[in-house]
Symmetry: C2
Subunit: 497 residues, 2 copies
């Protein structure tokens, strides 16, 4: 029986998707379970499989299917898949193979050098690698092309549709509001007492509570699992196998509890993609920013809300060590929402977090535009920290060296974190027009909320572009006012100013 | 830079080996961790990857490398690899693709039907599938070819070099000795009291003891891990990532303890293959029988010995529930070596175990030779159980339906279990000429034993054929006398006859 061109097209994508599931499982395994000594062999296997994906993505075979099918496609899944793989084909084939290979080699070396440099607080040793990584990214951006800013070409990898000119309108507005709020908070009368959260909290108990909350959110444990790791992540191996990982700090339960809920938000997205997209490149979140909107929606808007703790504090206390029974709900709630400028992005509170992102965005944009030089980064980093957060990291390890992204050559990624936060605020506002969120939280019943997100966002996978999702859900484009308003109201309440 | 033919050959094998590592990890994951709902998608991915392996194994590209390289190879690894892949190429391409595809489809259906049939004690529903599976195997055997017996062609898949004429010399001898021993044991004065082993044994404690014994054996936890599963297995993903799984029965610690040691024996084999064989099809055990000799050596010859328990009983008691402290070492040792005919192969003691294998061997050989018919299997099974073990299973679920092998179309596999046992006895005898095994066990120091096995067996992977290993290690071919002598001496001591 002869296969049609369309069947051949889907079979090729299924082959690619099979390699990707294998790569995903290997990545999960390496970060949760795999024995140390097997890593070297495993890395080579990953290299072989990644090469197979790359071969398919850039193959003449794929190109010929695209050319044959796109003229006549009337099916919306087929049309979207063709558009998605054609875009990848074009962008990937624009980069000369030899150049890309050099970059991949540089990447893995750089990550290693960065890890050492971070450990030894030695920016100088990482500097030449970072200079090279910037140089490659500038070259790639030129190959890919852009209308206005060179940085737009990189941003496109993570948040297609967004541009520097949009970010430069929005980010300064947010920054001004947040730094102003931060000033108010510093001198406000209602300072929380974070010491009420201290105390040993056994891992097993944190795990039980985390699992219960994941279940309440609607995370399907028959289509996923929760494991321990060092740097938490969620990963969709397929729509029915979406795994969450978390980290247990027995001295601070917040790492696991809010971390699990955050990753759970990512996982709900991947678990609720329409199954008709299985084995296609559309079966994943549409962008980093929209993905982050889902994790931050659950982490901040749900699980850091007063209603959430009014409802679930008894459940928390059931799993918490005895001493927490002495802590009044109000003190607990205010303590978990303490705002305090700190050095490390991933440990930042929800108010200062976007400021950390803006520092990175401004610096990497300037690097890519050639306005600043890598060797000046530590100094510039510290200046911006002083300016936006009022503190200066004592070492580069706690400053410019803290994040892995640049060492992997990822420029244009950071804005997604802040965009996701703004999207989340916009989405929450839109959801409120249809659902009484507060009432749902108080009932401890998140079904309606989960369904609304699935219907309006999750099910589409990559069928819709990020700004189309935003427009369809909220009726407007990127608008930072919702985030500013949410943070202002919330923290005026907590800090009483 | 142009690659040489040899480099291209190794690269192709590396690609195959990468798929195999991915398949291995997926199989491990499905049997230990993977969420239920993801299985369907995962099975499809496994199908795609298995197809890629099959494509390489039967590719014209591979064939041309073999033809070019085999004339001039002077390197023993290259020569062995060429011979191995050529053999696979020849056997695989002898089967018409369409026929093989039909068989693969039948296999997966049959496993499902068998599982249902076993659950419902309904052999009739499985019968037509088994008839088909036998028919395909007979066809395959004809395509592969054989000198004497059609069954030899199947045996070759698991134990290359062994033939029906050898087995038919050896097995009846073993059977007669064992049935005779069994008669003696039944009427012997020294009957053990297995009730001393009863009692709740928490999983966590079993796990701790199992881990300690694995470490003592020399199993490298930095190149492996121990997980829980339903049907225990060991699997080598690569030489530095060899995983053991076990099953904890809180009512019977023997399942986990002896099971873990058994799988640990398999794992030591895979962990100690020469690293120069990495990414080639030589980087695994040379045959099912030699593999089984390694697991059974550790399980029976080491961990069911008196010296082992004289040495490790204190360690066991450290992890055992309090009540075991009342059990005298001698009573304990005799109880764990109780001989008692039973229905289920995998629960059989070390003396009756080979009799279970012979029943299967005789029946499957007769099936393949067309001497008996599938529909008579339950009756014939029960007759042989009565004859060899003196008991008749009350249901087919506990009889002819108990094992998964035939449902997967695996004929010719069962003899390996008995062969492995005989090999192990021969190997132990040979080892004794160089090492004071008893002294080593009493010192609780297995380093010398592990090293001897690695040097003489493990390191070679598939570089040597099973009978060459046996000859080089023991100086002779398959000889059942060592097993008979070991069992006779041991059980005369325990049962005092």
């Amino acid at each position: 029986m002869r296969l049609t061109t369309e069947q051949r097209f889907w079979n090729l994508l299924k082959e690619q998707s099979s390699y990707e599931e294998a790569i995903g499982l290997m990545a999960w395994d390496m970060r949760t379970k795999a024995p140390q000594k097997g890593m070297e062999n495993r890395s080579e296997v990953l290299g072989v499989l990644a090469q197979k994906v790359h071969e398919i993505q850039t193959s003449e075979e794929l190109k010929s299917y695209i050319d044959q099918l796109k003229k006549s496609s009337h099916d919306n899944v087929l049309t979207a898949a063709l558009s998605e793989v054609e875009e990848t084909y074009k962008r990937t084939t624009k980069i000369p193979t030899a150049l890309y290979r050099e970059f991949v080699t540089l990447q893995s070396k750089s990550e290693f050098v960065w890890a050492e440099a971070k450990q030894n607080n030695d920016f100088k040793s990482f500097q030449p690698y970072l200079e090279e990584l910037v140089r490659y990214n500038r070259q790639f951006a030129e190959y890919w092309g852009y209308d206005e800013h060179i940085y737009d070409a990189l941003l496109h990898n993570y948040e297609p549709g967004l541009t520097v000119s949009q970010l430069d309108q929005v980010f300064p507005k947010v920054r001004r509001s947040l730094t102003h709020l931060l000033e108010e908070i510093k001198k406000a009368p209602g300072q929380p007492d974070p010491s009420v959260l201290k105390g040993h909290f056994p891992k097993e108990l944190q795990k039980q509570f985390s699992e219960e909350i994941l279940k309440k959110m609607g995370y399907d444990f028959q289509a996923g699992r929760l494991d321990e790791t060092i740097h938490p992540f969620a990963i969709g191996l397929n729509i029915n196998d979406v795994r969450v990982t978390t980290k247990y700090d027995e001295k601070d339960f917040r790492t696991a509890v809010f971390g699990t809920i955050h990753e759970g938000g990512h996982a709900l997205y991947e678990q609720n993609i329409d199954s008709k997209l299985a084995f296609t490149p559309l079966a994943t979140g549409t962008s980093m920013g929209i993905h982050e909107s889902q994790s931050l929606f659950w982490e901040n808007f749900i699980s850091r809300s007063r209603s959430f703790w009014e409802t679930h504090y008894p459940l928390f206390l059931k799993h918490a060590p005895d001493r927490f029974r002495q802590v009044a709900l109000d003190d607990f709630f205010r303590a978990i929402n303490e705002v305090k400028p700190s050095f490390i992005r991933i440990e930042a509170d929800e108010l200062t977090y976007p400021l950390h992102i803006m520092i990175r965005y401004e610096l990497e944009k300037a690097l890519i535009q050639g306005e600043i030089e890598v060797r000046h980064l530590p100094e510039l980093w510290n200046e911006k920290m002083e300016q936006y957060l009022g503190i200066v990291p004592p070492t580069d390890s706690e400053g410019v060296l803290q994040d892995i992204h640049w060492s992997g050559g990822d420029f244009g990624y950071f804005p997604s974190y802040a965009l996701g936060y703004m999207y989340a605020a916009q989405i929450e506002h839109a959801m409120k027009q249809h659902i009484n969120i507060d009432q749902a939280i108080r009932a401890g019943d998140y079904y309606q909320i989960k369904q609304w997100l699935s219907t309006n966002i999750h099910q589409y996978g990559k069928m819709k572009k990020p700004l189309d999702i935003l427009k369809d859900v909220t009726g407007e484009g990127l608008n930072p006012e919702y985030l500013i308003s949410y943070l202002t109201t919330k923290y005026k309440g907590i800090y009483q100013f």
